[in-house]
Each structure stands twice: as structure tokens, then as C-alpha cells.
């Protein structure tokens, strides 16, 4: 574990360094320096179109690592949820029907859940502010269950998928227009265990 993270740090460091060199190369135009005149050009002529102000290309210093590390594996649950690979599913007004678009998102989420077979998820059902607070608790639950049922139909065990409704209590967008409402009618996926 430790060795792995050190080696990835080295790779990162080198990559950063080369990026830095590149960045310097692009930023600063070539400056005439008091140096002896350059030796005669012996290399074949470069393509004429771009003037040769670009960075100097170097061969990679280290070979590409043999093992590709999955960043998901080392991230904490909080970090995963902060920038979640589980995408949000949206719904129509007073509806828990899954549109083709919603099903496509759930297909992708199912693939993620199959890849990370240890993850457990809470599916949160949310509503926009136009419904009443009381009824929306049930509507949000219905949305969460719709998403859950579809994931189960794709082979994700129900035991990994909790549902909870927050009604309209936790809007994602605090606005009061169609755009905000569309964002708030959603099933939101929270990773609770990995």
C-alpha cells in the first residue's frame, strides 16, 4: 500500500516537472543570449508552418508504470461522494417514471456498481419545491424506489441499495425557476460503504 503510493507520487512528481518545463517553454519566447553562434544545422528541416517556439520534446524519463492504479480505490468515501462517479437521475414533475435518459444514466451507474462490487449505496429521492412538503416525502420515496428497482433489474443486489426520501427538504439548486426545479427532481446516489 505504502510502496504503491510512493511510486505513484514519484510518477506524479516527474510528470509535474515535465509539465513545468513545458509550461516554461511556452510562456517565455526564446531570448537572444550572448552565446557563441549555433552550430550548423544538421537535422532535416523542420516543417515550416509552426515556428519553432514550442517546447522542446524530450523522451520520457521513466517508462509508463506497469500497473495502472485505480484512483477510486484509494479515495475516501467522502472524497468519492464529493466528486461522485455515481450520476444523478432526473425526473419530470410529479413523476417517478424513468425516461430513456434516466435509464442510460442508471445503466452507467449499474456498471460502476458492478465494477466496485463492495460499494453500498443510499439512493436519495428528492422533489422540487412546487409540491407540498408532506406529499413530497412519498413522491421522493417513489423516485428512489424507481431507481432502485431498475438497478436491481440490471443485477445489482437490492441489499446494496438503500432508499431514503428527503421530499423537498434538500434542494440541490435553491432557485425558483424551471431550471432549478429540473435539477431538484432527482435521485441522488450516496456511497455509504466501500
Amino acid at each position: 500500500m505504502r510502496i504503491r503510493s510512493i511510486s505513484s507520487a514519484v510518477v506524479l512528481g516527474v510528470t509535474l516537472a515535465s509539465l513545468l518545463v513545458g509550461a516554461c517553454g511556452t510562456k517565455k519566447p526564446p531570448v537572444a543570449r550572448p552565446l557563441p553562434p549555433p552550430p550548423p544545422v544538421t537535422t532535416p528541416p523542420a516543417p515550416p508552418a509552426p515556428p519553432s517556439t514550442g517546447p522542446i520534446r524530450e523522451a520520457p524519463v521513466v517508462p509508463a508504470p506497469a500497473v495502472v492504479e485505480d484512483p477510486m480505490a484509494t479515495r475516501s468515501i467522502d472524497d468519492l461522494n464529493r466528486d461522485s462517479p455515481m450520476r444523478v437521475v432526473f425526473f419530470d414533475y410529479d413523476s417517478a417514471e424513468l425516461s430513456a435518459e434516466a435509464r442510460a444514466v442508471l445503466d452507467a451507474n449499474a456498471a460502476t456498481l458492478k465494477k466496485y462490487a463492495s460499494w453500498a449505496i443510499t439512493i436519495e429521492g428528492h422533489c422540487d419545491e412546487r409540491g407540498t412538503a408532506e406529499y413530497n416525502l412519498s413522491l421522493g420515496e417513489r423516485r428512489a424506489v424507481a431507481a432502485q428497482s431498475y438497478l436491481v433489474s440490471l443485477g445489482i443486489p437490492a441489499s446494496r441499495l438503500r432508499t431514503v426520501s428527503y421530499g423537498k427538504e434538500f434542494p440541490f439548486d435553491p432557485g425558483h425557476d424551471d431550471a432549478a426545479w429540473a435539477k431538484n427532481r432527482r435521485a441522488h446516489f450516496v456511497i455509504t460503504a466501500k
Binding site: N81, A133, Y135, L137, E141, V164
Partner: protein, 458 residues
């Protein structure tokens, strides 16, 4: 879980004491209704024909000159005036119109001529005395300005911690004696609020917590009941006003909790059996009807208060939610979308005899009135937002109480059925308001943060 105890001492602080009716005779005790009615005919103060009696309430007489008594005497007069104004049984003469009338020094030195000149029919004179540190003795007398006789005299002793409660008690006594009316002055509200600006403790997304609050019926003494840093919503007073049932996400899913606010203890009758929300007390306080998805869909269930004997009330693939009991406990009204959009239905408490009472755009939060009114208030979508409507069960007629001022939702009846609390966005953020059952006399109760889903104690 023992977090609430010390806050609520004031609630039971007044030991209502002697009731002396000065003249004429001493009828109107808690005896037979006939005797009481007869006494009221004799003692009742009337106004001009066809008009409400005009009442005046000056500052109370200060019997002990300490600052606490002086402040209480002023406050009690103002609060009593407000309490009487609230029920609209009397025309309350504005207090600033009688600043020039010399204050009474005692019950025997009253400038009746001046009060008559002002047009007052009834005059309420009170006095406050600090009998020991932290203890008040309060006397309240109602005078008929024409006859200059006292028609009601009450004496109260108790702690000095909540002077408003003396005024509320006197107001309820006056309404009972003069109007045979159960006043609402000592009733209380409960609601959910995000005013603390705290965020849910274990969420990546910034989410505001909501905690359960209580207040006097007039918005005074607002106090927090829950301290969870979670979502706590839709509180409901038990019929004895000693407990509040509510929906809490304290374990990150909705479940029903009952907070015994004077004992500082918490019960969880549903105990995480599925997900449960929106508890509603039966009128006798022995049972709760609630929404649960324990069988896979939002259905109504009834359980004993301790969580035992759970029975399922509805069986329908649609949403069934937001229950409210009839005053007799034999019927339950609720919200269902079984015919499309959410509408109000009534079902017998044994699950039979279902009927639909609304066919509107979107209806929710039915609230059955207390007797003698036989009606159901609910929120009805009338545009971008909602308005409060009332369905009269006897006539089948409906009327609308609010109109176009923001969105108006979550109605809850006062214990006497003459007022409703509700949530409105008319002042910007979500706030609790109260109004008469005719939609008049709107008063704003909360001002800080957002406040939702009120309930009014029985």
C-alpha cells in the same frame, strides 16, 4: 435524550387560585351548565345594540415597586389586550387612546367617568404584587363601566418567570365567563425551523438542519425542542399537549419520535420498522396514524402510542399519506394520488367506506377541525403556489381563506376551531402565520429563518 427538561418549568407555573365574583351574587361556578348560563346573562357586559362590547385594558396596577413588578404590570396589560383582540369577541379600544386617563391606584379608585367618555363598556383592571422573590400575586377584575360594578374577579399566584401566562389565563377566564368560549390564549404552536443555520452533520452537500420548535400561540417564548443536527419535521402535539410526535432523520432515514417535553424523554414507537413519517394523534391520544413504506409503498398504518398493535389502513399501489383524525376518532382523512394527482379522501378508521372529497389541481395536508365545526382544511394548488381551503363536511361546500399572497400551506386548527396556523411565503421566506377561520386577522408568528409545518396544541 434528556435535553429538554429545565426549559419548560414555566408551563405549569400558575396555580389558579380564588375566583371571587364580586357582584351580583356568586353564580357561574363550575356547576350545572344552566346555572352558569343564567349567571352569564346577569354578568355579561353588553355594548351598543348590534355592536360588540368595547373593552379597555390599561396597564396593571403596581403593588410592589420593584423593577420586575413594574415591567410585568405593563406587559400583562398589553398581552391581555392582545389575547382579547385575538378572539374578536370584543371591540378592543386601542391602548394609546387612553394614555391620558389617570391610572387607577386601586380597584376602588377608578375614573369611570373618563372610561365612559372613551366609550368603553367593559374595563379590565389588574394588579401585580411580588409576594416573595420570584413570586407574583395577580388580581384581575372586569368592571361594567355603566354600572361601575365588578362582574368578574380572579386572583392568580405563581412564579414570576412568565408574566404573559397570567394575562393568557385571565383572557381565557374572561372568554369563558363572558362568552362561554374556550379561548386559545394558553395553547401553543409547534413547527420546524432552520433558523439556527446549522448544517447536517454527515452530508457532503451543504444541507440546512431543521429542528422542532415550540412557542406560545402568539409567537412568544419560542424554544427549540430537538438538538440533533439532522432533519426534524412535521411535528404534532399530543392531545394533552405534553408530547410532540414528529418525523426525524436522526438515524439518516425518516422515523417517528415522540418527545415528552416536560419530562425530557424521547420515544421511538416505530423503532425503525421500515421508514415512517407524518404521525397524527388520535383524538384520545392513545394511537398514532402514520405513513410507512414498510410493505414497499406509501400506505397508512395505525399503531398504539407505544408502537404496539400496528394495523394497515390502506392497500393501494398509489401514494397514501398525510393522515388526520376526525374529532370522534372514527374516520381518517388523508392524501392520495390513486386517481392521478394528490387529492383528499376520507376513510373509516376500520379501513372501509372510502370517499373522495376534492377534485382540484393538487391537494394535501388535510386537517380535521375540532368540534363543533365539522370541516377539513387543506392546501390547494391555485397557481404557482397554494392557498388554504376549507371543505364543509355537512354542506359539501368549500371556501378559500387565503388568496394569492405567496404560497400558503400546512393548515392546523386552534383548539377551539376558530383559527388556523399555516405556513406562508407572503413575507419572503417561509414563515408561520395564524388567521381566523374566515381568513381575517392574519398575524405573523415567526420571523427568523424558514419555519414550516405548524401544529396547534389541543
Amino acid at each position: 435524550m434528556r435535553q429538554h427538561t429545565s426549559l419548560f418549568v414555566a408551563g405549569a407555573a400558575i396555580w389558579s387560585a380564588v375566583a371571587i365574583v364580586a357582584s351580583p351574587g356568586n353564580g357561574g361556578g363550575p356547576g350545572s351548565p344552566q346555572a352558569q348560563q343564567q349567571a352569564e346573562v346577569i354578568l355579561s357586559i353588553s355594548g351598543e345594540p348590534g355592536a360588540r362590547p368595547r373593552y379597555a385594558v390599561p396597564d396593571f396596577i403596581v403593588r410592589t415597586s420593584d423593577a420586575e413588578t413594574v415591567a410585568a404590570a405593563k406587559l400583562m396589560g398589553a398581552v391581555l389586550w392582545d389575547d382579547l383582540e385575538f378572539e374578536r369577541e370584543f371591540y378592543m379600544v386601542p391602548r394609546d387612546t387612553y394614555r391620558t386617563i389617570p391610572a387607577a391606584k386601586s380597584f376602588s379608585e377608578i375614573a369611570f367617568d373618563r372610561w365612559r367618555e372613551l366609550g368603553a363598556d367593559g374595563l379590565l383592571i389588574g394588579s401585580v404584587e411580588r409576594t416573595a422573590p420570584g413570586t407574583f400575586r395577580v388580581e384581575v377584575r372586569l368592571f361594567d363601566v355603566r354600572t361601575r360594578r365588578s362582574v368578574m374577579a380572579k386572583e392568580y399566584t405563581g412564579t414570576a418567570t412568565n408574566p404573559r401566562l397570567y394575562a393568557h389565563t385571565a383572557s381565557d377566564d374572561i372568554h369563558l365567563q363572558q362568552r362561554a368560549l374556550r379561548g386559545a390564549a394558553r395553547s401553543r404552536l409547534t413547527f420546524s425551523s432552520d433558523r439556527d443555520g446549522e448544517r447536517v452533520s454527515n452530508s457532503i452537500q451543504p444541507r440546512d438542519v431543521k429542528e422542532i420548535y415550540i412557542s406560545d400561540y402568539d409567537g412568544a417564548n419560542q424554544r427549540r425542542v430537538t438538538v440533533t443536527r439532522k432533519l426534524n419535521i412535521m411535528p404534532r402535539w399530543s392531545p394533552d399537549a405534553r408530547a410532540i410526535a414528529y418525523t426525524s432523520y436522526r438515524r439518516d432515514f425518516p422515523d417517528i419520535y415522540v418527545s415528552l417535553i416536560y419530562q425530557g424523554t424521547l420515544e421511538n414507537p416505530t423503532g425503525g420498522q421500515g421508514q415512517n413519517w407524518l404521525p397524527a394523534w388520535s383524538p384520545d391520544g392513545t394511537r398514532l396514524c402514520f405513513t410507512s413504506t414498510r410493505d414497499g409503498n406509501s400506505e397508512l398504518y395505525v399503531m398504539n402510542r407505544d408502537g404496539s398493535n400496528v394495523t394497515r389502513l390502506t392497500t393501494n399501489p398509489a401514494i397514501d399519506t398525510t393522515p388526520t383524525w376526525s374529532p370522534s376518532g372514527t374516520q381518517i382523512a388523508f392524501t392520495s394520488d390513486r386517481n392521478g394527482s394528490p387529492q383528499i379522501y376520507i376513510i373509516d378508521a376500520d379501513g372501509l367506506n372510502l370517499r373522495k372529497i376534492t377534485s382540484e389541481s393538487w391537494c394535501d395536508r388535510p386537517t380535521w377541525s375540532p368540534a363543533p365545526f365539522n370541516e377539513i382544511a387543506y392546501a390547494s394548488r391555485t397557481g404557482p403556489g397554494y392557498d388554504i381551503r376549507i371543505f364543509d363536511l355537512a354542506t359539501g361546500e368549500r371556501r378559500q381563506l387565503t388568496s394569492g399572497e405567496g404560497s400558503n400551506e400546512s393548515p392546523a386548527y386552534a383548539p377551539n376551531g376558530r383559527h388556523l396556523a399555516f405556513m406562508s411565503t407572503r413575507a419572503g421566506r417561509k414563515q408561520i402565520f395564524v388567521m381566523g377561520r374566515d381568513g381575517q386577522g392574519v398575524r405573523q408568528i415567526t420571523t427568523v429563518g424558514n419555519n414550516y409545518t405548524p401544529d396547534w396544541s389541543r
